[in-house]
């Protein structure tokens, strides 16, 4: 029995158990004189039995599937005549060819070793037995537990509580998965960073002003000696993010004010979704917009004004386009918080003879400010983490400069360049990427934490 059939059978089995248990609860209730004698609704009795049938069976299936491949492989290897003399990679190759032959015998005409053919036939046999045993065991589990549950259906049984507990545990489990993944990421980055810092001192990394991560891969090679001062990267990130925020905050805020306070309903219904489309454009598209349209425009403009040697890659182009990309973050969140300011405050202000603009400036914006700040912080962490636009428009040169017309590079871009291509994963060069990642992670984590805290404070104020 193959896996699909098995699963379908299991579904059918649990459905049957669901149905019969529900019936059983109903008929027991009838004997007592009505449904209100049941502890839970009949549906819950069905669901309880169904869970009892399906969950143990699925657990068995999962455990079985984890081990069966390994065990079968063991058996095959042991049956080979000279397995103990082979190295592990030779053994791997051998097993591969056995598996291939077993999957479609005849197609590989070169296989002539009778031992392989024999082993392959054995493998096919084993697989068949394995599938049958698996199906049998799973279904037996399903039937036994389902039947036990069915017999236990009785008016006093607290079926609803059981079902709710099971679902609650499922919910808990899923949230746990997310948390576990996060923790896993943090630790992997942390350990690799520690390895990096055992080679390069932390202070060199954090305070060094020279970044050139090329190291000689083998002795005698002409290459950089490698220097890992990350300050130019931090500065570049800061510069580009600052430019992006200079574009995004005023534009986003003002459009939010327009949309929520001045625009009439029809304009708002059209403009707001259009603005939000900006957030849906892939960053790579922004990247080539920045590299092919904005950067050359800036360059030719500056040359027209009289600058010389303007680089075609600049922090200004990358930051500007990135700013456009995050406008919707700022405007959408600000629009939401501005809308959440109760109208009674506006009325209070108008009632004192304030004009619309005074009301917006002195009452609405201050009342919405914490929420707006939260939105801006989220946008900043988005800007810091952005890679693609910078790769395409700001260049790779790790210049330590505050001039927005020069080419700079950012933390994320360097992570990418450190890791692309064939790399050994234990040279300081690649490990540096993890250290940079750690810094990035810490910064955005802090920003998000503050932002969420601020936004939450704001919510509490009005809800």
């Amino acid at each position: 029995m193959n896996l699909t059939t098995l699963l379908l059978t299991l579904v059918a089995l649990s459905a049957a158990i669901f149905y019969t248990s529900r019936r059983r609860s109903l008929s027991k209730a009838k004997a007592l004189g009505g449904q209100h004698h049941l502890n839970s609704l009949p549906l819950y009795y069905g669901m309880m039995a169904c869970l009892w049938c399906a969950l143990p069976a699925i657990s068995v299936l999962v455990i079985w599937s984890i081990f069966d491949g390994v065990i079968i492989e063991r058996i095959i290897v042991q049956s080979l005549p000279n397995s103990s003399e082979l190295t592990s990679s030779e053994l791997g190759l051998l097993i591969n060819s056995i598996q291939n032959y077993a999957a479609n015998p005849g197609s590989l005409t070169e296989v002539s070793d009778p031992a392989i053919i024999q082993a392959a036939e054995r493998l096919v046999d084993l697989n068949r037995v394995n599938a049958m045993a698996r199906a049998l065991l799973v279904l037996i589990f399903g039937v036994i537990f389902g039947a036990i549950a069915w017999t236990r259906v009785s008016p006093e049984l607290r079926a609803r509580q059981f079902v709710e507990k099971v679902f609650q545990s499922l919910l808990l489990l899923s949230s746990f998965v997310a948390v576990l993944v996060t923790v896993g990421i943090v630790f992997s980055v942390l350990f690799e960073s520690l390895r990096f810092f055992s080679v390069i001192p932390v202070t060199d990394f954090v305070f060094g002003t020279h970044w050139s991560p090329q190291t000689a891969i083998h002795d005698g090679q002409v290459g950089g000696s490698g220097s890992f001062g990350a300050v130019p990267l931090f500065a570049g990130t800061l510069l580009i993010s600052a430019i992006a925020m200079l574009v995004a905050v005023p534009t986003g805020l003002m459009s939010a004010i327009y949309l929520s306070e001045y625009a009439d309903r029809r304009v708002r219904a059209i403009v707001k979704p259009m603005l939000e489309v900006l957030a849906g454009i892939p960053t790579v598209v922004y990247g080539f917009f920045a590299a092919l349209t904005v950067a050359p425009t800036i360059r030719s403009f500056l040359e027209g004004v009289g600058f010389e040697n303007v680089s075609s890659e600049s922090a200004l182009a990358a930051g500007g386009v990135m700013g456009i990309m995050i406008i919707p973050f700022v405007s959408s969140l600000s629009d939401d918080v501005i809308n959440a300011v109760p109208n009674s405050l506006r009325d209070g202000s108008y009632g004192l003879g304030a004009t619309k603009s005074e009301t917006i400036k002195k009452v609405v914006i201050p009342a919405a400010l914490p929420g707006i700040v939260g939105g801006i912080l989220l946008a900043v962490s988005r800007a810091i983490g952005e890679t693609m636009i910078v790769v395409m428009a700001a260049g790779l040169a790790a210049n330590l400069t505050a001039n927005p017309l020069e080419s700079v590079t950012t933390v994320t871009v360097q992570i990418v360049t450190l890791l692309v291509g064939d790399q050994e994963f234990d040279s300081p060069k690649t490990l540096a990427a993890f250290a940079l990642g750690l810094v990035l992670f810490l910064v955005t984590l802090t920003l998000n934490f503050i932002a969420l805290h601020v936004v939450k404070k704001y919510r509490e104020q009005y809800e």
Binding site: G351, T355, Q461
Partner: protein
């Protein structure tokens, strides 16, 4: 429009406001006022005066248009989309809806206090100082301090908050917040104060304080107050206006309205037969 015919049947087509809607020393005078929300008419041909330094109570069943009418008096209805006001409304002979009139000084002259206290999320001091600041009433900090103090004193809140003027206004109790809102209104020295059910969110003790305050304020201010409490109307007002389905049925001396009303609808309402 449907509503118009229904009303006409119950009240009588040539409904005349009975009693004494007009006075000699009118601060506000309204004639032939009609208000529409889009297609729907909410106020039908209302005419009345509010005298100088008078307290006018407005009563009537829910939805009869009291708030709508009150909000016409300082053009707060302008902020509602689709709301249209017709008729002559005058503040000391000046056309409230005239093309020349600027709503900003109008609202400074005719202040409004709402049903739910709505202090700004600022300090107590800044709440009061808001109006004087936007109108440029003061040039020096000491003058502003003085306005804040006298306004709070007039609103009967000074003793409770004088030590914490920097605390947020939203942190006060409901009754204190409402007095803060009244103080905020007083701070721009209006001539008229409109109050839309100012006590409906308050307990009896806070209500009593506000009523006391209204009595004191009536020496210097003209007050129009919407209320659902007939006892309150009886306690604080000089004259009472009874609204019914968007029409002004009766205006009379408060005592007369509550003892011997001229119109049977008024009588039905005050004796609790509907509303």
């Amino acid at each position: 429009m449907n509503m118009a015919t229904n009303t006409a049947e119950t009240i009588g087509d040539n409904h005349q406001t009975v009693g004494t809607p007009f006075v000699d020393n009118a601060k506000l005078s309204m004639r032939n006022v009609n208000v529409f929300y889009g297609e729907k008419q909410a106020i039908f041909d209302v005419g009345m005066d509010i005298g100088t330094n008078e307290v006018m109570a407005m009563i009537g069943p829910s939805g009869c248009g009291k708030s709508t009418f009150l909000r016409c008096l300082n053009r707060m209805n302008d902020t509602i989309e689709g709301c249209r006001v017709e008729g002559d409304l005058n503040l000391e002979g000046e056309d409230i809806y005239g093309a020349k009139l600027d709503v900003v000084p109008l609202r400074a002259r005719v202040g409004i206090v709402f049903q739910k206290p709505n202090p700004f999320p600022k300090s107590i001091y800044d709440n009061i100082a808001y109006g004087p600041r936007i109108h440029g009433l003061v040039s020096k900090r000491t003058e502003l301090d003085e306005i804040v103090e006298t306004s709070l004193q007039k609103a009967g809140l000074w003793n409770e908050v004088k030590d914490r003027l920097d605390a947020p206004g939203t942190g006060l109790s409901g009754g204190q917040q409402q007095r803060l809102c009244i103080a905020r209104t007083i701070a721009v020295s209006p001539e008229v104060i409109l109050m839309d059910e100012p006590c409906s969110a308050l307990d009896p003790i806070a209500t009593a304080k506000i009523e006391e305050l209204i009595a004191e304020l009536s020496e210097n201010y003209t007050i129009a107050i919407v209320t659902h409490s007939m006892q309150q109307a009886a306690r604080v007002s000089n004259r009472t206006a009874y609204f019914h389905l968007g029409k002004l049925i009766e205006v009379n001396e408060t005592e007369k309205v509550f003892t011997n009303p001229d119109h049977q609808l008024t009588e039905a309402y005050i004796t609790g037969r509907f509303g």
